[in-house]
Symmetry: C2
Subunit: 345 residues, 2 copies
């Protein structure tokens, strides 16, 4: 199968995206892959597969590679006397800003390029943790209670300690702190506000059971990965998660009852349907007293959560053949014609 891996982006998770792309190069060795890099200035570059290593980017060597622009249905590489098109289905692998905030989705939709990844709406509801809560409420999915803080107003937190402080719009644990007592609060808020103007606070549940489940819709039904119980030392810090994005070995299925697995799947589907079509997402859940709570949605999980699927390549191909496509309105100038006619022009 032909597939274009689009990665990079002007995001705090830029480097993680590079690691994800390198990992997928290995996992999708049977595919005919094209690599397109979006740098922090939003220029696109065609990266030769043999150059897919971290230093190509950190040393700026990518800048010598062919620059691409967007055009209807394709990325275009313009030479002095030539023009090459790169038009295979895109896998949006840009984590964080650009990739997950709806920008890349809008760009690819606007230029009619088929892609695997969340659409604009789905991006907005998963990128900002506040909106994820609104989605949960509307869909009957439980989520932890929370409070929103702004730079101006961040006193009077009512949730008792320990609490967890998070930038509202970042993933990969960037800017996240666990606060056990008030004396630690200011530092945690400073860290969070460094990355976002919007911060949320939730209760920190010591020793809570966590389960991750990935999946996607294709052929009119849901396809789920195995359930994973992520290892944790309090919570994964950024460096740990960074390494985590290069995972490519299939993990072991968590020891969960059929009943719990079914509950996790039901909650996943409530969140996914009518919102995330076209994307392979990972939902991270908490289980408290047998009740399932959605913690967060990763609409472009690190290395596409390949390690949770028994046959990742096959799953991706199935999804690629089931992508939604936006119906575009056609214009017939009916009203202008009828008015011109009425005016006798």
């Amino acid at each position: 199968m032909k597939l274009t891996i689009l990665f990079g982006g002007a995001s705090f998770e830029h480097e993680i995206s590079i690691v994800s792309a390198i990992t997928l190069k290995e996992k999708l060795a049977g595919f005919n892959l094209t690599f397109i890099f979006c740098d922090q200035d939003h220029s696109f570059y065609l990266i030769d597969a043999s150059k897919m290593k971290a230093t190509t980017f950190s040393r700026g060597e990518y800048k010598k590679m062919p620059k691409l622009t967007l055009s209807s249905g394709t990325f275009v590489q313009k030479g002095l006397f030539s023009k090459a098109e790169h038009s295979s289905t895109v896998l949006n692998l840009i984590h964080g800003a650009d990739g997950e905030d709806g920008s890349i989705a809008a760009l690819l939709d606007f230029y009619s390029i088929k892609y695997i990844g969340p659409r604009i709406d789905a991006s907005v509801f998963s990128y900002d943790k506040r909106y994820t809560k609104w989605l949960c409420n509307a869909r009957g999915v439980k989520s932890l209670k929370h409070e929103e803080l702004s730079l101006k107003e961040h006193n009077n937190i009512k949730i008792p300690y320990p609490i967890i402080v998070k930038p509202s719009r970042l993933g990969s644990s960037i800017g996240v702190s666990i606060v056990k007592e008030e004396s630690e609060l200011d530092y945690a808020l400073d860290s969070a506000f460094e990355f976002d103007t919007r911060v949320i606070v939730e209760p920190f549940l010591q020793g809570v059971k966590e389960y991750n489940l990935a999946g996607f819709g294709a052929d009119g039904k849901m396809h789920f990965s195995i359930v994973e119980e992520p290892q944790k030392n309090e919570f994964l810090d950024f460096e740990k998660k960074y390494m985590d994005f290069s995972r490519s070995e299939q993990v072991l299925k968590a020891d969960v009852s059929k009943e719990l697995e079914s509950k996790l799947r039901t909650n996943f589907e409530k969140v996914y349907k009518g919102m995330f079509e076209g994307a392979l997402i990972r939902c991270d859940f908490f289980v408290v007293d047998g009740e399932v709570y959605l913690n967060e949605i990763n609409p472009i999980p690190g290395s596409m959560a390949n390690y949770l699927f028994e046959d990742f390549a096959q799953s991706l191909e199935l999804l690629a053949n089931s992508l939604p496509h936006a119906k575009r309105a056609r214009v017939n100038y009916e009203y202008i014609h009828s008015i011109s006619k009425a005016k006798g022009k």
Copy 2:
């Protein structure tokens, strides 16, 4: 002031956008205006001001005008031996799809072009009437109860007749019907589902008081238009609204008490703050038993609701000088460098 009016789009409201742009050409005669047209194939054209009339578009004459592409900070016009840039602040005047669904916002943000109009999140929450209800709930603003219908499930509507049936994602009354009894339901549903796969139903409130209020945030505070009581014959049909978009004469202030005006403003501000910054929007309210209900948000109102402002040109200039700008993450390859170092490479 220099301003680029971006209009057209692949939308059922394409023609309305043309009418809006022609109206603003007249209203903003003191500005240095550039006109950029987005056609239904998503190509951009530079339109000479003297050609800003409906037939330029309905007869396809725009296709002979210079084509533009997007580049960092600007629209670019490429000649054989030349390159001209059109980089003034953009007024996003594309109604409906493209303009109001977040696509144009994402495009302009991605290419770092300053613009007046809703950002991606604000677009998503105003474009789909279901999400507007979620926003209302979260912000403590009342809205009418509703039910969602999908093509597969649209029986068992519990709201008693008369009801109003609307496509979830279109404006300008397209596909909207009032249904007084069950026998009229099928036709109404067919009309709505012709335009959207998502349809909502609300109670139809005969003779309800309606008030429109426009406004925007600038210089750290809200600026409001006068309150208008829109004329109505049941509700405005598309053709009527179409003519409505060419309005340029200031309307009379509705006869509302200071108390009601203040309630409308309070509700407007609850919806606007932390969401619609950068946009001049119009909120349409119902008033039932003295209580204010948000009916819908027009994030790019027809001809920018110019007729509601005492000094429209000045208002727009104030807003143009107060636009939010997205802070872009910078990348320093810290993790890749540290890993390379650890590996001794």
